[in-house]
């Protein structure tokens, strides 16, 4: 990997976005500023990658950063790996639109790390090498265990990756108006540069940089949002419940019963549960997937192989929990601050999911949409969002590529006989393959609803990887039969349940809704046209024209849907309507995964799994013979 190649790469990336202007949250005159901030962050990460590229010569460097990352550094890197754009922008957005429920939603993402800390991080560090497959292959049949582990790793990472690529593409487009395809390619190319040239060393530093930027941006925003209330929590929340924009949003969400409620009650309702999360079983199901799935996420698991000892793995989870938890507490202020300073109506007008709450709040605290500082803040938050996507995607690609090269190619195909050079080359080639696939999937999935794929990734990890890892580590009778059966059935069950759930697109229902809009449109458009003609002054005329434009756009959208699904009435698995009402499969698929590991182990005889138990159990508890840090 020559210096020249890397520079040419960086130059290509830097030039890419300039050619594609369009509309976004950032106004045209401030786009130069935004790209400047983007450029600074990209330059910093590229410099780190350049330094890392010179160090990455061995497999241990490529997959595990030579096991020389400190506990504190790894804590920041885990936070950087974990806090995706969905949590950074999504949860602040949910809080700004739905209040209490958005905050409640964030809790599970932190509690998940208790499982990681107590039962996964240290044992895996003690017995593992680079991948999930290594942990499972310790006492189970290595080839079979590595094959299913690789399949599961690639499945989980691909779901998560698709959500990140599509979400990231839409986000960058909404923020600064770069074309969707261009932003997907930019994210993909940058991420490829980090992973291919710098392996885990560069990925770790990109994640640390991103986490520091994210926390800094959030602390600054919260400081300016909270300061006017003298940093008093009741004072701030009093302002929230009394805010007319909040009252208006709650009135809209509550519907008819709002007529019987006072403005004070409506405002207070924003701090009470039930505005967003309606189905408790679904929430418990999602909670199970988070609490058990995080510990089974291959890209999170992989981070524990980068530290020198199990004690450092422990320390890194403690730091990660402090950073991640602290960040979610800050999102309460970001979300509520956006609700009163920007308002739900304006936030959801730009993005229905509320993703623009944080960026718009940044613009507000800096002085508003016409101020230079406000736009600098917005540019900074947009750049952090971009760095977030790239850092998370890099971690996922590295995990998948490691499964391909280390587990499948070296472990299964070559029977563990590969030199360091061969293995590093295989890892780099795998990274390029996975990275290019991520770009292609990102572009092909344009316009698809991918939000549920994050929850699905966690559900698959919780139903497939976690039962296999947990029982391999702690249950004496667990063996290859159980691991193979449990992982395959767990993953299949989670995916199959989502395929028949309300998460999928059901053309029949979409067409019925679209037909309703089309049928009602002529009368509405006539009325709106009359309103434009009857408008007395310019302001009224502009408002009426805006309403008319929206009706026309809705009509066009509905006609587009009717055309798109003209020849089809069924979802991709051939259903006209969902078979189940549950959106999150965890509550069924997780127990099923555990049951299959249990049954498979009972009905299968595997001498190696039995013989290796004593060694595994002693080593996972003591760290004797754990993979040591490489000298450098």
């Amino acid at each position: 990997m020559s210096r020249l190649q890397l520079r040419a790469f960086a130059a290509a990336v830097a030039l890419l976005p300039l050619s594609a202007w369009a509309d976004g949250a950032v106004k045209a005159e401030y786009k130069g500023l935004t790209f400047g901030v983007f450029g600074l962050i990209i330059a910093l990460t590229m410099f780190v990658t350049y330094l890392a590229a010179r160090r990455v010569k061995s497999a241990s460097q490529f997959y595990a950063a030579g096991r020389s990352v400190s506990g504190i550094q790894n804590g920041w890197a885990i936070a950087g790996d974990y806090l995706s754009a969905a949590s950074f922008l999504g949860i602040a957005g949910l809080i700004s639109l739905y209040g209490y429920d958005g905050f409640m939603y964030s809790v599970g993402w932190l509690v998940a790390y208790i499982t990681v800390l107590l039962v996964i991080a240290e044992p895996c560090r003690n017995i593992g090498k680079y991948t999930l497959g290594d942990v499972l292959a310790f006492r189970n049949d290595p080839k079979k265990a590595k094959t299913v582990a690789a399949v599961s790793t690639i499945t989980v990472s691909t779901f998560y990756l698709t959500a990140q690529m599509v979400g990231g593409g839409v986000l960058v487009k909404t923020l600064i108006g770069i074309d969707y395809e261009v932003s997907v390619i930019t994210v993909g190319v940058l991420m490829l540069a980090y992973v291919v040239f710098g392996g885990m060393v560069a990925t770790t530093w990109v994640q640390i940089i991103k986490a520091v930027l994210l926390v800094t941006a959030s602390v600054i925003l919260v400081f300016f949002t909270w300061a006017p209330y003298g940093f008093s929590l009741p004072g701030f929340l009093n302002a929230v419940v009394a805010d007319p924009k909040v009252v208006a949003q709650v009135t809209k969400l509550v519907g008819d019963p709002a007529a019987q409620m006072s403005a004070a009650d409506l405002g207070q309702r924003f701090l009470e549960p039930g505005l967003y999360l309606k189905n408790p079983i679904d929430q418990i199901s999602l909670g199970m997937a988070l609490v058990l799935g995080t510990a089974g996420m291959p890209h999170i698991l992989m981070r524990f192989f980068t530290v020198p000892t199990a004690q450092d793995a422990r320390k890194s989870v403690i730091w990660a929990m402090g950073i991640i938890g602290g960040f979610y507490v800050l999102t309460l202020f970001l979300g509520m601050g956006a609700a009163i300073n920007v308002g739900a109506a304006k936030i959801s007008a730009i993005d229905a999911g509320g993703n623009m709450a944080g960026p718009l709040l940044a613009q507000f605290v800096g002085g508003g949409e016409d101020s230079w500082v406000g736009n600098l803040f917005l540019a900074f938050v947009a750049a952090v969002a971009f760095a977030t996507i790239v850092a998370v995607v890099a971690g996922l690609v590295l995990a998948s590529a490691s499964a391909m090269s280390h587990d499948i190619w070296v472990g299964v195909v070559k029977g563990e006989h590969a030199t360091q050079e061969e293995e590093v080359r295989a890892a780099r080639i795998s990274s390029v393959i996975v990275g290019l696939l991520a770009i292609v999937i990102g572009i092909l999935a344009k316009g698809q609803n991918v939000a549920h794929l994050v929850a699905l990734a966690f559900a698959v990890a919780a139903s497939s990887n976690l039962p296999a890892v947990l029982l391999t580590l702690y249950w004496k009778r667990c063996n290859t039969g159980g691991v193979v059966l449990g992982m395959l059935v767990g993953a299949f069950a989670a995916i199959a349940l989502v395929m028949v759930s309300p998460n999928m697109t059901y053309p029949k229902a979409v067409k019925e809704a679209a037909q309703k809009i089309v049928d009602a449109a002529p009368a509405k458009i006539d009325a709106a046209t009359a309103a434009v003609a009857a408008a007395v002054d310019d302001a009224a005329k502009a408002a009426a024209q805006k309403a008319l434009d929206k009706l026309n756009a809705d009509l066009k959208g509905a006609q587009g849907k009717l055309e798109q699904f003209r020849d089809t009435n069924t979802s991709i698995v051939g259903l006209e309507a969902p078979l189940i009402t549950l959106k999150n499969p965890g509550i069924f698929s997780i127990p099923l995964g555990f049951l299959c590991v249990f049954l498979g182990s009972i009905f299968y005889r595997d001498k190696r799994s039995e013989e290796m138990w004593d060694e595994l159990y002693v080593r996972q508890n003591t760290g004797i013979h754990a993979e040591a840090a490489s000298a450098h």
Partner: protein, 108 residues
Amino acid sequence: MSDKAMDWAAIDRDPRFVELHRRKSRFLWSLMAISVVYYFALPIGAAYFQELFRIKVWGPINVGLVFALSEFIVAWGIAWIYARRANSEFDALASEIIAKAASMGEST
């Protein structure tokens, strides 16, 4: 890879290892159980005990908000309790076993 010099079964039977394993397992699984129960109490409470969650305790701050914030405190608290005991007790027990590991099983 398995080191033939180590007698893993002997270490596994060693009273010090049995003691480490016994203390660690009981402690870990109780912490795990507490955190899972406490976590799932939040969505269950939000769904089925809404009247309780609405009671205001400090200005506009209600029971539900205090409970949600307490989830963070409890998660951090469990992490802190675990780390403290692991750093002082489990690590010491483990290093004692590591020091003696190579010679274990020689007399049996």
